[in-house]
Symmetry: C2
Subunit: 402 residues, 2 copies
């Protein structure tokens, strides 16, 4: 039983505190923060995934190296500068940055992970960071500040917390994420931090994190581009007490479900807040031969510029859905495909049903649009999330000189 | 020595005639044509490539089957209707369509290929085609009408012809193509027809066609979407006389160069006329380990929405170029990459050169923008072409209900 914690944040779980401050990396403004620190009172098990881009920020490189050990106490994060494509200085700066954070809270630099998001190609302004990192005040309520400190062009912070009953105890998972939107000259980056007080063995934590991310953050698309800095970190500090969740199969299952739930919830918020987006698109593919097929097809439909444009225009132009399904390359029979738009059946056995166009347009005139594609090729299903492609996306992303 | 033929068309080569008419498949208007027929006086060797989309128009299926035999006399083409996602009726209609064309010119249906482009999910209006196909008047000057008959939202017909001297004789290659632009409810489709009087053996023609298309039409991107109907057909009828071009290595090379040249020229015109496009983007990747790497990286940079947006905004935001290069997954060392925008050197060894931003913006304020990426990882190079992403693209493609 997963319960939403009202006003929850990444510090809702026991033993996590956080904070944020303004150091001058972003343009100043009301409530603008650009340095954040998340801290666990005790050494936590940690699992994470990072960008697949060949060009990686040194912040990613350093975190990858430290996550490999499976333990961490803190994460320091900045927005405004991606610390990417800056040569050898990038790794030096990332190391110094974590050392400054470690000193501030009295732990070892190796226990600190780092995430950066913002402009590519410029160095971290270390003087500003040295000067301001000491201003971060950590508290149990600091999760909200942390969530704001990692924002770039996000229209609002994304954070939430849930609790779940395991056998004989309640554990909490809190999360903060930033999304995929950009105004020049920022590079979109997806960052997510999950902090739980559940006791979780490292091996199980890695497996559970991989599974949760595969069905959530790996299934969203805003513009088909992959940042140099994407990072998702899950920390489990065990402060809720008791035996490791994986010791009891029912607990393991409940924890996995809770972790997947919070990841999907935050991922959908990222898609919904995509650059210029006005609508959330959910694509469910069922009846596929394999889960990998279903997920791939769902991603492909979500990622098509033509599909995104039709969602923007509330246009039931299902030929584009078939086109995107076909270019996914998965195995299916065109003559068995059924398509539903917000539950209205518009294609049966691969050909059009004489649906009422105005009714479908009306059904698409809502903030959440769902396409369901039933392939009748097998039993597997998968879901992906995206957003519409709007004139604002183009305007925002070409706004430098025009 | 390749020479451009002024006013050339797909019927510039000896022994090819063509024509077009209006049958009512598209909205009527001045000079609107929607049925075209290209005809060779003698049986020609034919090679072709077709869409890789799993969902294929029955027009593609029928042409694929017939091209496999290596011989054809004619191609019938229509715009306005893709003949795709219409169930079993699609193949019946395609077969009848070619039979009607064959009867009109007095040849066998099996000698006729077919291409369709337009709306997905509606059946070909066969009554209109039966009634009007007899109005197509074939002539040596009919290539211009054929080029117009295959247009959907193309702003102008794309056609050209070149001649090339082989040992002791001149051969001609004419071409017509349609591009990748769409207004609701059309699906973009890329069609291209090359007709040459060069005598070319079937095996060499297939090889030469594959090579030409790999460096041209397979290297353009407008919106990352793949039509159900893409087709490129090369017909060689031998009317220029003499021995097959492949009998003499110098002739084979000259013919290959000419075929590649006309394909690249038409491909660039398609990219330049992409939906809503205002600028042609050429991405040259050199110093790659393999040609496949270079081509893939060039395509990936051309295909990135963020890169397309920066071209639209004349924004020298090179971090996006590095991001797209990185997500291509090819093997290179970030610290050795040099980037040039219209010959201005802006990145050296993976980090920014302090270039004058205003000068780069000025250099990008032209109809043709070139990015050159030197990887210093090997000797191979590749080029791709695309266009900018504009507000008009989104408006056009979401214009149904808003």
């Amino acid at each position: 039983m997963i319960e939403l914690i009202k006003g929850g944040s990444v510090t809702s779980a026991k033993g996590f505190i956080a904070g944020g401050t303004y150091a001058g990396l972003k343009r100043s403004g009301e409530d603008v923060l650009d340095l954040g620190l998340l801290y666990s009172e005790v050494l936590a098990n940690v699992a994470a995934t990072f960008t697949t881009n060949m060009v990686k920020s040194p912040s990613v490189v350093l975190s990858q190296r430290r996550v490999a050990k499976g333990k961490a106490r803190a994460v320091v994060a900045n927005s405004g500068c991606a610390n990417a494509c800056v040569g050898e200085q990038g790794l030096k700066d990332a190391e110094e940055f974590t050392a400054l954070a470690a000193k501030h809270v009295g732990i070892q630099p190796e226990e600190v992970l780092i995430c950066s998001t913002g402009l590519i190609g410029v160095e971290l302004p270390m003087a500003l960071i040295r000067h301001n990192i000491g201003n971060i005040h950590l508290s149990e309520h600091g999760g909200h500040k942390f969530a704001r400190a990692i924002m770039t062009t996000d229209s609002h912070p994304k954070e939430m917390a849930i609790s779940v009953d395991l056998s004989g105890r309640k554990v909490t998972l809190g999360g903060a994420a930033k999304g995929v939107g950009m105004i020049h000259p920022n590079m979109a980056t997806m960052l997510c931090f999950i902090a739980t007080d559940a006791p979780v063995g490292l091996e199980f934590l890695r497996k559970a994190t991989k599974e949760a991310i595969e069905t959530s953050f790996n299934q969203i698309d805003v513009d088909g581009d992959t940042s140099t800095n994407d990072t998702c970190i899950v920390m489990a500090n065990g402060k809720a007490g008791g035996q490791p969740v994986e010791a009891n199969p029912a607990d393991a299952k409940a924890f996995q479900e809770a972790l997947t739930y919070i990841c999907i919830s935050l991922a959908k918020e990222l898609a919904r807040d995509g650059e210029g987006a006005q609508r959330l698109l959910e694509v469910v593919v069922d009846g596929a031969k394999t889960v990998a097929d279903a997920r791939k097809a769902a991603r492909e439909v979500c990622g098509s510029n033509l599909v995104k444009s039709m969602v923007h225009g509330r246009d039931p132009n299902w030929g584009r859905i078939m086109m995107a399904l076909g270019k996914s390359g998965i195995d299916f029979d065109e003559s068995k495909v059924d398509i539903f738009i917000n539950d209205i059946h518009i294609v049966h056995d691969g050909v059009s049903i004489p649906y009422m166009k105005e009714a479908v347009i009306s059904a698409m005139s809502v903030p959440d649009v769902q396409f369901r594609l039933s392939l009748h090729a097998g039993e597997a299903s998968g879901t992906a999330w995206g957003c519409d492609l709007t004139e604002e996306y183009v305007t925002f992303n070409s706004a430098y000189a025009t």
